[in-house]
Amino acid sequence: MTRIRPMRPARLLVLAGLLVAPAAGAAAEPTVHTVRIHQFTFAPAELAVRTGDAVIWVNGDLAPHTATGSDPQWDTGPLEQGQSQRLAFPDAGTFAYRCLYHPQMRGTIAVRGPRADRRPSSPLSAAAAP
C-alpha cells in the first residue's frame, strides 16, 4: 500500500509559483492584430486592441499606401504591394489614421488599457517594431 505523505507548506508555495509563473508570462505577451489593405480600404477599418498590443498593416493593393496617425508621431511609411509594417500601441486612446496618399482611406485603432507590461519610451509611439 502506498502511503501519501502530506506536502509541507514550503513545497506548496514553490509548486504554486511554478504554476503561476508561466501564466503571468503569457499575459505579458502582446497580441498582434492584422489590418489588411485591400482595394483602397483598411480591413477592419475600426480595430479594438489592448495597451501593449501591436498592429500589422499588410498592403495587398498595387498602389502604395501608408497608415499614418492624425498625430504625426506614428506612421507605417510607404508600403508597396506585399509589404507590411508592425506598430506597437503602448497607451490607451482612440487613434484615427489615414493613408497619406489616398486621404479617403481612413481607419481607427481603439486602444483599451491598462496592460502596459512593456511600455516603449514615447507615449503613443506606435513605434515601428520588427
Binding site: Q39, F40, D61, L62, A63, Y101
Partner: protein, 186 residues
C-alpha cells in the same frame, strides 16, 4: 474585311476621344462596337494608358502651383508607376511582348494633342483643364478596362492584374471628381 475595318475605325475614334478627352462626352463606349483584342494588345494598351497619365502628371507638376493639383499629380505618378511596374513584372514572368496596336497608337496620338492643349494654359485655367481631363480620362479608361479589357483577357494573371488596376483607377476617378469640385471649375 469591311466590317473589320469599320470596327477598327470605330474603336480608334473612341480611343482618340479617350486619349484627348475634349469631346469625350459624345463618345460611344459600347463595347460591342469595338474589335476584340488579344491579351498582348490589351496589355500594351493598358500600359500605354498608365504611361499617358504619368506624362499628364509631369506636365501638371511643371505648370501648376495649386497644392491639390500637385498632390494629385504626384499620386498619379506613384500609383500608375506601381501598376505599370506590376504589368512589367507579369510580362517578364510570362516571357511575352505586348503588341502595339491601333488603339494604343490612337491613344498616344490623342494624348499628345491634349498635352499640347494643356501646355498652353496657365494658372486656374490649367488647373481646371488638367482636373477635368483627369476625371474624364479615368471615367473612360475605367469603362474600357471594366467592360472590355477584363472580359476579353484570357490569361488569369492578366485578368487579375487588370482587376487590381481597376480598383486603383476607380479611386483616382473619385479623387479627380473631388478635385474638380473643390477647384470650382464651373
Amino acid at each position: 474585311m469591311y466590317n473589320k475595318l469599320t470596327s477598327v475605325l470605330a474603336a480608334s475614334a473612341a480611343w482618340v476621344l479617350l486619349a484627348g478627352s475634349a469631346g469625350a462626352q459624345g463618345m460611344d463606349s459600347d463595347a460591342a462596337m469595338q474589335p476584340a483584342m488579344n491579351d498582348l494588345e490589351i496589355a500594351h494598351s493598358a500600359y500605354s494608358a498608365g504611361s499617358i497619365d504619368i506624362r499628364y502628371a509631369h506636365l501638371a507638376l511643371g505648370i501648376s502651383d495649386d497644392r491639390s493639383v500637385r498632390e494629385f499629380a504626384e499620386l498619379m505618378i506613384r500609383d500608375h508607376a506601381a501598376v505599370n511596374e506590376a504589368a512589367g513584372a507579369l510580362v517578364e514572368k510570362l516571357q511575352v511582348t505586348p503588341q502595339d496596336n491601333e488603339l494604343s497608337r490612337q491613344l498616344n496620338a490623342g494624348a499628345a494633342d491634349k498635352r499640347r492643349e494643356l501646355a498652353g494654359l496657365a494658372g486656374a485655367a490649367f488647373d481646371c483643364g488638367y482636373a477635368q481631363n483627369e476625371l474624364q480620362y479615368h471615367q473612360l479608361v475605367n469603362a474600357t478596362v471594366e467592360e472590355r479589357f477584363i472580359p476579353s483577357a484570357t490569361v488569369p494573371e492578366l485578368k487579375a492584374l487588370l482587376s487590381q488596376a481597376l480598383a486603383t483607377f476607380k479611386a483616382h476617378e473619385q479623387h479627380a471628381a473631388k478635385m474638380v469640385t473643390e477647384l470650382d471649375c464651373g
